[in-house]
């Protein structure tokens, strides 16, 4: 299960230093994240665990460049992304990240293949190349018989498979999975986790956010977040 294929000297995929995030709600300042430090080595499979309100979603949004931090540094593949502008962040997201959401977030009017191709579209991929790639990915997640279907015609598990294929289409540095089994029954959830585990074995860097310990334990490293602070960092 465990596989440590990263050499210690290599630049980590993600390195954050003293990451802070504050929200102003009315007159009070809410400290959502209180100075976090950690690294994710290449090929690492990390889970971030915590109850709701612990700041794990905020952390995921910042790591995924969907939100900006208040202070601190964030190095992605050695590049500091902390003070990038909106367009640069969009480019980073499109090139470096794959997202798997709890509620799948597939685009309803697009077919399975077209959904998988969305990130490639924004990377200016050629139509033919992206079609070839999406076909291959659909096959990989076991959906080659449903490629022309709309998301509404698929089951929950199938939808999440499409989302996984989509997250892989741009060959990301990191895959973020936000409660990937949250909307699925246990059996389907297990299937999805199996796919993620396989991806980790293939050397993908994955950050998994969940509140369930059973899910979090799939990862090689578990960070537990309470009240905006890391309270435990376990490695298998």
């Amino acid at each position: 299960m465990s596989q440590q294929n990263a050499t210690p000297k290599e630049e980590p995929v993600i390195r954050i230093c003293d990451l802070k995030k504050e929200f102003v709600v009315g007159d009070t300042v809410v400290h959502a994240l209180k100075g976090l430090n950690f690294e994710l080595e290449k090929g690492g499979y990390m889970s971030i665990m915590g109850t709701s309100g612990s700041g794990k979603s905020t952390l995921l949004n910042i790591l995924g460049c969907l939100d900006t931090m208040t202070s601190g540094e964030y190095f992605l593949d050695g590049i500091n992304v902390a003070r990038m502008n909106d367009n640069e962040l969009s480019a980073i997201r499109g090139r470096k990240f794959g997202f798997i959401f709890q509620s799948f977030n597939l685009i309803p009017q697009l077919s399975v293949l077209e959904n998988i191709e969305v990130p490639l579209f924004y990377q200016d991929w050629d139509e033919k190349d992206s079609r070839a790639k999406s076909t291959r990915l659909a096959e990989m997640v076991g959906l080659s018989h449903r490629v022309q279907h709309r998301p509404s015609e698929l089951s929950g598990g199938q939808r999440q498979r499409v989302a996984i294929a989509r997250a892989l289409s741009n060959d990301p540095s990191v895959i973020f999975a936000d409660e990937p089994t949250g909307n699925l029954d246990q059996e389907t959830g297990r299937e999805i986790m199996q796919i993620l585990d396989d991806l980790a074995k293939q050397g993908r860097s994955i950050i998994l956010v969940t509140h369930e310990r059973a899910i979090a334990e799939h990862a090689n490293r578990m960070i537990r977040l309470v009240d905006g602070q890391i309270v435990s960092d376990e490695r298998k």
Binding site: N61, L66, S90, G94, R166
Partner: protein, 429 residues
């Protein structure tokens, strides 16, 4: 190249999401469809109508000034007198004066019209006999069908030669070849030397020239001007029950031709002044085709401005419809926007996507509108028989305006869609 490819793909995508909501898209574009369609159709019908009017005026010649004798108003009160001689109208002296003052202009067709009757053995019809000059046809739409027109010899010899208009000929000689036969004008016998067509527009033409003669068919015949003066003199005597009136009119109509369009108006003013100085009564009227033409153009311009306003209003309404539906669409698809942003779309990508959809809506509406606008005038022509002229520029204009409408009314919803932060958009239920 890459940019166009991308635009093409965004366009394809936009087209699909419009087709996804067929009814909604159709209803949204109705404003544009009717706006564009009605503008093209109205322009075509208006252009057709003004074209017909302008053609009619143009037939009179744009460099011409037509001066006609007119019975002065006040003389009608004197008709109670059992005997009254009213002398009015343009005189030979007037022509000489105009010729002296403006040696450059050509004075055409001093036509002399006599209301009388034409007869042969079988038929008697009321007719207008026109005393004219041999070169009358140079300046008119009429053509010789059979025989010849009045010539110089007729003019010099006061010959009793007569040329009939084809309708006159048909009426007098329904079964025979009229050339060479005799026709009586009053008690005088004339020999028919030719038949001329009244030309396709001559009926309307005479309407414009003389508003008094309309409705009923007018039978015309031409004799030489010299013969007309000799046989009829300058005085016309009409006998009515219990009274007799005499009219003395030397020249009924003359046409002054200026050298070019620019000279027409100054010349008309000068001629009017020279005539007014010698005429105590308002016993002549001037018709200036160029002026009529200018008036027609001015009317058309006003018509176009009004149409432009209607078009602007309907396109505004159409545009608001598009904006409304695009705003709804942005709200409905907030999650999609968030997802796309998370997957690497920039704000510009999102703006482009929604703008392209809005422009597609309006352009498709524009296309359908053009179809409607082109077919309505065709139907009008078919059903009502009106001339309609579809202006190519109106199609282009309508198309460009509908595209602009899409951009103008699409930009706000598009910017709104793009301004959402990705996490906000993703959180949207």
């Amino acid at each position: 190249m890459l940019y166009f490819q991308k635009l093409k793909r965004v366009g394809k995508l936009g087209m699909r999401s419009l087709i996804e909501h067929k009814l909604r898209s159709l209803l949204t574009t109705l404003g544009i469809i009717f706006g564009v369609g009605s503008v093209i159709a109205m322009l075509a019908i208006g252009e057709g109508a003004s074209y017909a009017a302008r053609e009619q005026i143009r037939k009179m010649g744009s460099t011409n000034i037509i001066i006609r004798s007119r019975k002065p108003e006040e003389s009608t009160s004197a008709t109670n007198n059992t005997q009254h001689l009213s002398a009015y109208g343009i005189t030979y002296e007037d022509i000489m004066r105009i010729r002296k003052l403006f040696p450059d202009v050509r004075i055409h067709v001093p036509a002399r019209e006599i209301n009388t009757q034409l007869m042969n053995q079988a038929t008697r019809i009321p007719a207008i006999v026109v005393g004219t000059i041999p070169w009358h046809l140079n300046n008119s739409q009429e053509k010789v069908l059979y025989g010849r027109f009045i010539d110089e010899y007729d003019m010099d010899s006061y010959a009793n030669s007569i040329v009939l208009c084809d309708n006159t000929a048909k009426r007098l000689f329904p079964l025979e070849y009229p050339v060479g036969r005799n026709v009586y004008v009053g008690s005088q016998a004339y020999v028919v030397v030719g038949i001329i067509s009244s030309g396709d527009g001559s009926e309307e033409n005479s309407d414009v020239l003389n508003s008094a003669e309309h409705e009923k068919e007018v039978y015309r015949a031409y004799i030489s001007l010299s013969a007309a003066r000799k046989r009829f003199g300058d005085t016309i005597i009409k006998r009515e029950t219990g009274s007799m009136s005499m009219e003395k009119v030397e020249i009924h109509q003359l046409t002054v031709t200026a050298l070019n369009d620019e000279q027409v108006m100054p010349l008309a003013v000068a001629i009017r002044q020279s005539l007014v100085a010698f005429h105590k009564q308002a016993d002549f009227e001037m018709t200036i085709p160029l002026e009529l033409l200018n008036q027609a153009e001015a009317t058309k311009r006003i018509f176009n401005i009004v149409l432009g306003c209607i078009a602007a209003i309907s396109l505004l309404v159409g545009g608001i419809g598009i904006m409304n539906i695009m705003l709804a669409s942005v709200t409905e698809r907030t999650r999609e926007i968030g997802t796309r942003r998370a997957l690497g779309a920039t704000r510009q990508n999102i703006i482009m996507q929604f703008l392209v959809e809005a422009v597609l809506l309006s352009v498709v509406g524009g296309f359908i509108g053009v179809g409607l606008g082109v077919s309505v005038p065709k139907v009008v022509t078919l059903v009502a028989g009106l001339t309609t002229i579809i202006q190519p520029y109106s199609i282009l204009m309508a198309f460009c305006i509908s595209m602009a409408t899409g951009i103008i009314f699409g930009i706000y919803p598009a910017i709104r869609a793009a301004s959402l932060s990705p996490i906000e958009a993703l959180r949207h239920e």
